[in-house]
Amino acid sequence: MPTLRYGEHTLNVEDGKTVLETLESAGIDYPNSCRAGTCQSCMMRVVTGDVPDDANRGVNESKRELGYFLACVCRPTTDLEVVGTDASTSTAATVVGLRRCPGDVLEIRLRCARPLDFRGGQFVTLVRSDGLARPYSLANPTGATELELHVRHYPNGAMSNWLAQATPGTELELRGPYGECFYVADDLDRPLLLVGTGTGLAPLYAIVQDALAAGHRGPITLLHGARHSAALYHREELATLAANHPNLEVVASALEVEKGDDVDNTPIDTLALARANTADRSNLRVFLCGDPALIRGLRRRLFLAGVPLRAIAADAFVPAASRNSAQ
């Protein structure tokens, strides 16, 4: 009889019983609704062991890669250790470097007390000793040991203003990783379209590096936008990457362009839709990161243009509600 570990519980799974039923017979309540593998209310994540194939049918590719499955249709055949979807891990981290980039962007380098198991494109939450917490995307490809974060520096931003004054040795707590915006090597020939504004570039930079490292052969288009061309950062790094990979195209877009600067002044959503319209839309994989209104609008328009909903990964950077409060 397989065993099921959940928190401090170790339960025997009776023949043919699901994970949800097993938890319930032990008096453990877990959110659920349809009990038929469709509504996804009872989603869980497997930490050790393998769930049967039909336990994650209908769960999108990114979640499946992370081990997510549906407890109501999962009938374990081997021992499993599972956690809820809200389970998070935490580690201590130390600032090891700080660089100011154009566009009021701080590039912050961190080293963790223990290695962080993340996928390029995911984000973490930084927590200061007084509890102030903010989410930031990692710009590193999968497997990096020294983390690179791109932080937009707001003059009155409680966390970013503090981070701007950090020095090597500054200590923080890091929670995560979170998010489903990452590369899945399920088809090396499919076209990829990555669209980001501001520090939305960070996860996209990580995803592009992961795709290239996986040997992705399909065309990759990275669109990076800002209000003003002077705020576009990391342009040299992107140019170098594109020069070394013929299947990668990098386009910078800004509404106001500095004279003589090689930046497209077409709005970034127009560029994105145009690229999608000339690609094989049914096979296109899209990543959207940055300004929430732009990201949500673009997701809807790309979907209506024929891109399958689950092929669009979106990470809207919603600003903190108390951004201007002095902490």
């Binding site: 609704s33 349809c34 009990r35 038929a36 593998g37 469709t38 509504c39 996804q40 049918r57 209908g58 997701r299 809807r300 979907f303 209506l304 399958p308 909903l309 689950r310």
Partner: protein
């Protein structure tokens, strides 16, 4: 026993494409699209999948209470019979595009009809 409509259109593996088709119609139809302006698209798609699975006879555990809870806010915003009519019409168009015959679309419409009172949060019809 003949195959359920759910099985005919391809069962679980085909549901994502079916939901995409249906959801695009809903978002493109001015009669109902306004109700979908501020929703999380992924969660909405999961709900629509549950609905499509249920009305085509796939595995489900439908409870009217969920349907009521989910629509109570929309009813307060003016959701009424005309919107349910529009959804049932778009559902029919979706199934027709997936190759489902007219007679069977009527059966699906009848099943969808059976949740009308739950969606509109009112007591069983007269």
């Amino acid at each position: 026993m003949s195959k359920s409509i759910y099985e005919q259109i391809g069962g679980a593996p085909a549901m994502d494409a079916a939901v995409d088709l249906f959801y695009r119609k809903v978002l493109s139809d001015e009669r109902v699209s306004g109700f979908f302006d501020d929703v999380d698209m992924e969660r909405q798609a999961a709900k629509q999948k549950g609905f499509l699975t249920m009305v085509t006879g796939g595995p489900n555990n439908y409870t009217g209470r969920n349907m009521r809870d989910a629509h109570a806010k929309l009813v307060a915003r003016g959701l009424n019979d005309s919107h349910v009519d529009a959804i049932i019409e778009l559902l029919g168009q979706t199934l027709a595009e997936l190759g489902v015959g007219e007679e069977q679309i009527k059966q699906v419409a009848a099943l969808a009809e059976s949740v009308r009172d739950d969606v509109l949060c009112r007591d069983a019809a007269n």
